[in-house]
């Protein structure tokens, strides 16, 4: 853990925060919720970046980061009286496996246009490898973030109660 690494993690978190703000405003949350989702996205994505550097598998790292976001979001939900999913959803979006999804489609296109059997086989492998990674990352995101909600249903449904 040197300064170079810390710098990389900070840059990663900053970019994730900008991305989270942009994706949060589409769903029109309150101003406080936007700030919280930027903060959570920075922490979650930074954590995932760190775990990936430590040699974790990507879907496992995503799962850990997403459940961390879920836990923190319940804490913040109680703090600002706002349902947890309002800011936990946008903060997950920077972790959506866009590049893997793109490669899945690309290999599918190549498979369709290719007649050579040898090449087709390698495209099929690419297709399944990238497609599976996409699906598992998506599942890890959602299950990870909703685990705290499942463990503490009382808390997560009463955060908007003020009395």
């Amino acid at each position: 853990m040197n300064t170079e690494m810390i710098k990389l993690i900070l840059i990663d978190g900053l970019l994730a925060a900008i991305a989270a703000i942009g994706f949060a405003v589409i769903s029109n949350p309150s101003r406080k919720a936007i700030y919280v989702s930027a903060f959570l996205a920075a922490i979650g994505h930074g954590l995932r970046f760190f775990l990936l550097k430590m040699g974790f598998e990507i879907s496992l790292a995503t799962f850990v980061a997403a459940s961390f976001i879920g836990l923190l979001s319940i804490f913040f939900a109680r703090l600002i009286h706002c349902p947890a999913e309002v800011f936990s959803f946008p903060s997950l979006l920077p972790m959506i496996p866009g590049l893997f999804a793109y490669r899945t489609i690309l290999s599918l296109i190549k498979f369709m246009q290719n007649t050579d059997i040898q090449k087709s086989q390698s495209f099929i492998i690419d297709f399944f490898h990238n497609g599976m990674t996409t699906i598992f990352i998506l599942l890890a995101l959602v299950v990870g973030v909703s685990l705290p909600v499942l463990f503490f249903p009382k808390i997560s449904f009463s955060v908007t109660r003020k009395y």
Binding site: L15, G22, S27, S30, E85, I96, G98, V145, S158
Partner: protein, 263 residues
């Protein structure tokens, strides 16, 4: 005036109308099923009614029964509006349902607050356009895209999202909207390939369409399935997946036009 409002006991029809309106508003603002049921049953309880609710993709069915007089019951179905995400409404209505429960708000007070919540203005569309473009550009940077890729993605997103906003205004089918915005955005980002800008045109092309990914419906669907509302969850999942297929079709078309499949 205050006591006058409280003495005015609402009829069962009025309560059913209010509850269906609120649940439809929650549904089209992007709340998951469990939250809708919790909020609405809490409100019904404070009026002295037992409530049962089933949520479908396009309609909501609600039955309320008076606790004291079981003969007094009403079932109502209402069509929901198209999904237009608005988390301010979700959190405000959730707070309203707790206030109803804790402070025993009267029917008229709830009605006034509901109308106020629903008519609140959204964030300015130009600000949203700018922030989404920044977001997608930083997305591209997260995937280690270089300067050219980030700039391209910024403008591609701006064009694609602007097209989406304009098409939503004219109530065009949402599958068409997604396909054409994905097409436009990836067409612009694909110019990096054509003119050999920078070293990472692949990343620009891949991240140019990511602003369209229906993240909230996707997460909501899995959340619904986990909590046991499987039918609603699958409906949402199919909806989100068809949008993703549309994005893929848009991307695919522009790649074919630009001749990128040979790369």
């Amino acid at each position: 005036m205050e006591s006058d409002l409280k003495n005015n006991i609402p009829t069962i029809e009025q309560i059913a109308d209010l509850l269906t309106d609120i649940s439809c508003e929650l549904m089209s603002s992007g709340a998951h099923t469990m939250r809708i049921i919790q909020n609405i049953s809490r409100m019904a309880e404070s009026f002295g009614y037992i409530m049962d609710l089933s949520v479908f993709q396009l309609s909501i069915m609600i039955t309320i029964v008076n606790k004291d007089d079981k003969m007094q019951r009403l079932t109502q179905i209402k069509k929901t509006n198209h999904l237009k995400l608005n988390f301010t409404i979700v959190s405000e209505l959730s707070a309203l349902s707790w206030d109803t429960y804790d402070k025993k708000l009267s029917y008229d007070e709830i009605k006034i607050r509901f109308n106020k919540i629903v008519s609140e203005k959204r964030i300015s569309r130009w600000l949203v356009l700018f922030l989404v473009s920044c977001a997608n550009a930083s997305f591209c940077a997260l995937f280690k895209g270089d300067f050219y890729a980030v700039t391209l993605v910024f403008w591609a997103t701006m064009a694609g999202f602007f097209l989406r906003q304009e098409m939503i205004k004219y109530h065009i089918n949402h599958l068409v909207i997604f396909t054409s915005s994905a097409f436009l955005a990836s067409l612009i980002a694909g110019l990096g390939y054509v003119f050999h800008l920078g070293n990472t045109p692949e990343i620009a092309l891949a991240s140019s369409v990511l602003f369209l990914i229906p993240g909230v419906p996707l997460i909501n669907s899995i959340l619904d399935i986990i909590e046991g509302h499987i039918l609603t969850g699958i409906a949402r999942l199919v909806n989100a997946s068809s949008l993703i297929v549309c994005i893929a079709i848009g991307l695919f078309t522009s790649m074919l036009i630009l001749g990128l499949e040979k790369l």
